[in-house]
Symmetry: C2
Subunit: 700 residues, 2 copies
Amino acid sequence: MLKALLYPKNIAVIGASRTPGKVGHEILANLINGSFAGNIVPVNPSADQIIGLKCYKTLKSYGGTVDLGIVTVPRQNIMDVVQSSIDAGVKALAVITAGFRETGGEGARLEQKMAGLCRAHNVRLLGPNCLGIMNTHEHMNASFAGVMPESGNISVFSQSGALCTAIVDSSVTGHFGLAKLISLGNKADLTEVDFLKALAKDDNTKVIVGYLEDIVSGDDFVKAAEDTCSIKPVIILKAGTTPSGLKAASSHTGGLAGADIAYGAAFRRSGVIRADNFQALFDYASALVMQPLPMGDRVLIITNAGGPGTMAADAVEKSGMTVAALASNTAAALKGKLPRASSTGNPIDVLGDADPERYAVALSTAQDDESVDAIIVILTPQAMTRPAETARAIADCVRSDKPVLAAFMGGKHVMPGNKELFAAGLPVYNSPERAVDALKAMYEYSVWRRRPPRIVTRFRVHRRRVERIIARQLRTNRTHVGDIKAKHILSAYGFRIPEGHLASTTEEAVETAEQIGYPVAIKIVSPDIIHKTDLGGVKLNLSTADDVRDAFDLMMLRIRQVAPEAHIEGIYIEKMLPRGMEVIIGMSRDPQFGPMLMFGLGGIFVEVMKDVTFHLAPITMEEAFQMLKTTRSYEMLKGTRGKRGVDFASIANGLQRISQLVTDFPEIIELDINPFIVGETGTGTFVADARMTLTQKKTK
Amino acid sequence: MLKALLYPKNIAVIGASRTPGKVGHEILANLINGSFAGNIVPVNPSADQIIGLKCYKTLKSYGGTVDLGIVTVPRQNIMDVVQSSIDAGVKALAVITAGFRETGGEGARLEQKMAGLCRAHNVRLLGPNCLGIMNTHEHMNASFAGVMPESGNISVFSQSGALCTAIVDSSVTGHFGLAKLISLGNKADLTEVDFLKALAKDDNTKVIVGYLEDIVSGDDFVKAAEDTCSIKPVIILKAGTTPSGLKAASSHTGGLAGADIAYGAAFRRSGVIRADNFQALFDYASALVMQPLPMGDRVLIITNAGGPGTMAADAVEKSGMTVAALASNTAAALKGKLPRASSTGNPIDVLGDADPERYAVALSTAQDDESVDAIIVILTPQAMTRPAETARAIADCVRSDKPVLAAFMGGKHVMPGNKELFAAGLPVYNSPERAVDALKAMYEYSVWRRRPPRIVTRFRVHRRRVERIIARQLRTNRTHVGDIKAKHILSAYGFRIPEGHLASTTEEAVETAEQIGYPVAIKIVSPDIIHKTDLGGVKLNLSTADDVRDAFDLMMLRIRQVAPEAHIEGIYIEKMLPRGMEVIIGMSRDPQFGPMLMFGLGGIFVEVMKDVTFHLAPITMEEAFQMLKTTRSYEMLKGTRGKRGVDFASIANGLQRISQLVTDFPEIIELDINPFIVGETGTGTFVADARMTLTQKKTK
């Protein structure tokens, strides 16, 4: 995958320059200074030699084939250069030159033209407007970032070139080595999706780190990310997350779902570890690249000081993980081996005068405990503390079936310890909380890795019936689907809806009511009236024929007054539903990631508390249950203080059926069942009110 | 304050040792190596000279007076040594020796005895079980932490000695200087309160940092912290915060208020900045010690790279601060001075090739903008970037009326820039998010500093009436105060309660109901029945005389069946309240900080969503309003989607009245008004149900 770009045998610098400081000079110099083993071919029409290398007027005149061309020529020459490079048989191009899409109109058009040309000749294009590319294992620094970082197993792609330079510069002080570093630039051709796929197959890459500001194709991203995360961890910092996802008070799925929520749902689905800030990116990456995944959330803390031990325990609890309870034989074994004053609970306090040996004893013993999934080792630099020796003693007894992360607190004195730890493949942080955060990221990823296979249930439904309804709506350009039609659609997909019929006259209304049984609701039916309730077009809880008669006549009278132009199809007589808890389920279509399902408790819980969860469709049964469980109001569904719980399974079933409906019908761009009435366990659910919005356009 | 301890003229090391590695040797060596200017007096019964200093058999034999004695003798000699030091006229003691309260029983008793002896002679005692004390401005390292940190203006007290060593070790790499470093140890005599007071008056201390695991006296702490925070910032990391404050489903204030919530309330009241992790402590301290407080929350970002600028803007929005909108003349001025491709919005992008001058121009221009309260300057190390020169250019034009914080991203290449910035008094972080977090801490503190004067309203109330009710309850040992008595108490403090009377017979009940008007509720009155509702002792919404008669008879019958032993005082006939929103207000008494007031929306909002806020009593009107505003459900109170808001002022008034009640009557240890019924603006509030718990014991 992307062989010519990531592992080129030879590289041309097209636009190589004799002038130090110029990009075309610096990249050539970086390639040479980095000791790239393949041929390096400077191309410049007016130079014979640059930095001791023979220079060619055109790539063609070089004669041999070139895998990768790094292009640094001015924008006005770009099409000529790309064309001639293609003619010369180049396999991939990285265009450093800026001034394309990021400058708007003309630049954008030129970018499209260039990308089209490359695509037509099967030449892959990185950039334009990028920093270049590095492959440390091939000593290849085809970028204008000065220094090459240490070689390692973290690969990075970044939509910000400047961030690449910061990462390279951090790698030494941060003790992390890099494998590939890819500056994505404007992503005219190659995107995050291509690099996810390529890095998934790269043996030197054990962890992938990405910085993104947008994603080119949501579907492709989710698919590629899911495949890649099944092999190795992917950590992404997504910038531009604000304005915050949840908008002002709204009870519609569309009003509640923001882009940031969609990214969150896409990352969750595909196993991507999300970093909330720059520091977290490499805090997580270091842990993941060095240590095995934890198989559970039970954390043991070893410390030579009580305070920092408490800080770590606080952080573990806050993170939602568990402070492990040691097995009794572990505690007994520790008691025999550690000084009497040591604490052999969790945290294990090896005391302020702990020597390396004492750490080793505690760690070895604790590693054997089956009730421990991960270990945090804390060191504070006290009078007797020997950080470097302690680091070595720790490293010597780490068995690498459980993750061990270190928090060496301090600066100058602990530095030699940090170096030893990194050298031995142990991640180390300067505070217990950072170590715990990194462990939490590992734990969540390990849960994702061990998730059950995703099996999306296909229900038997009356798809043709829905096709007909939607076709009819769209033919007459009615993109809003009101309550009654929406219920017909939902009924065809297996939802229970209250019995009801359309009535045109008072007598028909009463007759219908008598037939379906009281109490009933009556609702105006008109394609011109969307907000029925606001116009007095809904009347609930009518218990007698007289009530129905009065309400029917009054509604007809009033509606004609307030909306004289509206075409009235009649009044719908509907059986009132049994009482139950009101929840909302719905769907809105994200421009990037397609249908997102929503669940929340009804009314104020959604409008005010914003207590809703989202998930990308299609959804599995497990995921549907997970949606219910991750709301804060979950306890209410479970039943509190003697009240019985509701019919969970039926809500989860409803979410899966919506998932199938909106997957089958991309014409549905928004859907709300609000309220969705749910009774006690075993009694099922009813659609009380529903609405949908259709589109004529193609959707995701 | 604590002159002998913090600024001693001369110091004795009692238990000085000739053996390197022993604490009694190391402390002496640290004092000498630190170049302490005063006399250093080693005391050891069996040595003539230690590290070149004449050694005395006892402190008395030294002859001269000694301000501070550092005690390192074994525990078994401690009382003799303390006594003889006192006899020799020592003014303060720091006891390094361990083995006291932390070991339980006997050690705790010995500690008390020692503290008592010191107190009796007006000798202040630091520790025992501590690391000692440092005063860098006096070159005094009276501790066994090896190196002395750089001199600076941050002072630290810590309940963990090991953390002191980590802090000292961090200070060099973290570029922060310290003034005083105090290891609190077991706090037998001197506590955080003493050092808050002392450091408040210390001219060399500009910021106070504390690490605490507990607080000795809540009231004293709040008082001292509030006084100190009015002069200089105090940042505290409180460890041991879990298990998390909010416990399982509960609708009682007592069940919802945990120790961590109490600490949070105490810190909020007293202006203490809370650090959630170790890194934050000095991130905040560095910003606060170097830069002025922001006068508002409008943040400007200057950057040489788009990505990191976006990351900073994300962080500002997430923090709740505002990404400043630049004044139009600023943007115009910038356009004239920066290259055409620069972005002159916010973030201001000075472009990847920005030289120091360009940063200076952007910063100078932005500083003049009155719509900017604070500035974050971001640098990434790109090809043309000169970090050190840029740092100097930035430093040269910082005007210090608005805070400027830097985020220099990278490692080796930006390090010289970091050094320049620190040297010039500009805090620098390795990520935009850390800089924004520090700025947020500054902003919150500045809001606290500018808060209006706290004026607690005293309402005219019938205090004597409450005294009588409480005295009667306690005389008969009835610590539970039921609904009706609780309402009488609340009524005496100005709460509106529904009209009602006790009835012993059916006819009396009907008569009462007729008199107060329907609908009514009836409630069993018995000191033996606490959970009335559970036993069928409450019946609501009775609308006719017949209803009252039937309900009365049925209730009497049933209660005698289910609780035959209960003494029945009668049945209370109470007017049903008008409808309104149900909220909860209450109080529970924290063992440390005394009465904590609670507010929350009723029912599930409290039980399930835990959407409650707490505040220490006594409370001001502003603080009461603030409590309402900080719930997530605040929008519901304000009114949503056309619904009118509720009578805020009346709820706030209720909170203030409870505040006065529980301040007047420490016997009340818990109080709940649930529900407290609130109508639309102007219609006031009613107590629907109330309960209190009393105690015979003395409370906070």
